[in-house]
């Protein structure tokens, strides 16, 4: 039990009392690992993260069934204020900076869970991981580029000393080189800080390169799981998410028949 940080047992999530998005999701995350959650749009990846971080509530969503265990304690349907104080921080999809605050003020908001404690060292740590932020620390976040913003929101989360970091699509809309850099830093944070990371990604190739373990979601269910290396080698994954044919040639997106995926898995 010790090694398990987070466990979802048969979790169902319903929005507005009518729309069921998760239909019995079970997964577990071990300490100090990077676990990647793959799947197409609308599969329920983001909802899974929000169920863990408690951010479903403001969106009228609710965990109706199953349990979410964090260090063996049930945390489902707790308020985000409580959950963040357990050490679970979610980095939202689409980079949500505080536009009218400076970079440094943005980072300071990350100390909310540890209000009143010194934060100088944490700032230095964040600037060590993201030197680009140091140069712009007095500038308004609203004027930053997408790459800088991604670093900013990740740095902001680091300020909270997270034990479990939930990253939602960090590569969204970024140039390939920047994505590479971001993923390198994610790996680095995991190794140096020992932070456990759950990574939701569309960019399956990159995600599986840095992750230890992976889950694949379809239609609100987990349809496949395995070590990252095994998933990479799986012919279905290769075809559907990595866009490679059985022979290893790159296939165009239109050739990948999504109905086959559904037929085989659902």
């Amino acid at each position: 039990m010790d090694r398990m940080l987070l466990q979802l047992n048969n979790v169902s999530v319903v929005y507005s009392d009518v729309i069921q998005v998760l239909k019995g999701v079970s997964l577990s995350v071990e300490n100090n690992r990077i676990v990647s959650l793959l799947g197409s749009n609308g599969a329920g990846k983001t909802t899974t993260l929000k169920a863990v971080s408690g951010l479903l509530k403001p969106e009228n969503g609710k965990v109706t069934d199953g349990t979410i265990l964090y260090r063996g304690k049930e945390i489902q349907n707790q308020s985000p204020e409580t959950i963040t104080r357990h050490g679970i921080i979610q980095v939202l999809e689409g980079r949500q900076p505080f536009k009218y605050l400076t970079i440094e003020e943005n980072l300071r908001v990350g100390t909310a869970t540890r209000w009143g404690k010194p934060y100088r060292q944490d700032l230095e740590k964040v600037y060590h991981y993201f030197p680009a932020l140091w140069e712009r620390r007095r500038g308004l976040a609203g004027y930053c580029s997408g790459g800088e913003l991604q670093m900013l929101v990740m740095g902001r989360a680091l300020m909270a000393h997270p034990e479990l970091l939930l990253l939602d699509e960090p590569s969204l809309g970024l140039a390939p080189l920047v994505v590479k850099e971001i993923f390198r830093i994610i790996r680095q944070i995991n190794e140096e800080e020992g932070t456990t990371i759950v990574l939701v990604e569309q960019n399956a190739r990159m995600a599986l390169q840095i992750a230890h373990y992976g889950y694949v979601m379809e239609n609100g269910k987990i349809v496949m799981e395995g070590l990252a290396g095994d998933l990479c080698a799986n012919p279905d994954i290769r075809e559907f998410y990595l866009g490679l044919s059985a022979a290893g040639n790159v296939k165009s997106y239109t050739e990948v028949k999504s109905y086959r995926r559904r037929k085989r898995w659902l």
Binding site: P58, N60, E81, V91, F98, W115, G116
Partner: protein
Amino acid sequence: MDFFVQILVGGLSIGFLYGLSAMGFVMIFKSSSVLNFAHGELLAIGAYFFLAFVTWAKLPILLSFLLALAACFLLGIIIERILLRPLIGEPLIFVIMLTVGLAAMFKGLILLLWGGNLFTYPDFLPKALGVQWGIVRIPPVYGATLIIGTVFLVLFGLFFKFSSQGIYMRSVADNQRAALSLGVHVKRVFALSWAIAALVAGMSGIVLGIINGVNVHDLSAIGLKVFPVVILGGLDSIGGAIIGGIIIGLLENFTSGYLSPSLRDVVPYVVLVLILLLKPYGLFGLKEIERV
């Protein structure tokens, strides 16, 4: 010339007060997008708290002032806790109409307890606060207004710029979802912004009471003037609120001095309509960036 300067000084200090009280209004609007129609009653409550402490309880002036402010602060928290928190997530229109109801409640309560008469505070300001430069004579009240106002302004400026709690409050105003994801206590921020708004309003109410005497009807009418002030300054700009307040104060005083005293009370609203027509986001407001 003498007349002109008197009007100028009077307008500036009244306007400064308008601006200060509008600051509280803007704070609530920024953190929770609520237009608070009970703002005038908050002014009045501050003034009556002070009156009660000074004349009924016969406490020393400074202590009464601090106690009145503390009571306002508490009242702000109570309002948020009991009345507004259950409405989080409901359409904004309910919250705004709740403040309309609240205004009527408070006004009725004050009238019930004190009646509609004009009260005055005992004269306690030291004469040294008044200044005489040649023909320019600044009465002690205005001197006190400027000092108290500036102190508050600087304190709040520092609070919002540098303190962690101030930064959390700004983060909620900026992006509530992101603030929530980082564990910012959004409800606490709402409560705090109501508390601070009530405190600032109470302070302005007390000073207005010193200048004009204490009367519910007058004070709640002044409370509604925050609308022209904040529309002029931009609904979401605290600095704009101060400047908007000063402009409205000057305009009022000059209208009543040179045109007609009865026109004084509608001029701000005429300006309001004109601003809405010509420069709808105010002189200093940020145009909202909309993403669908």
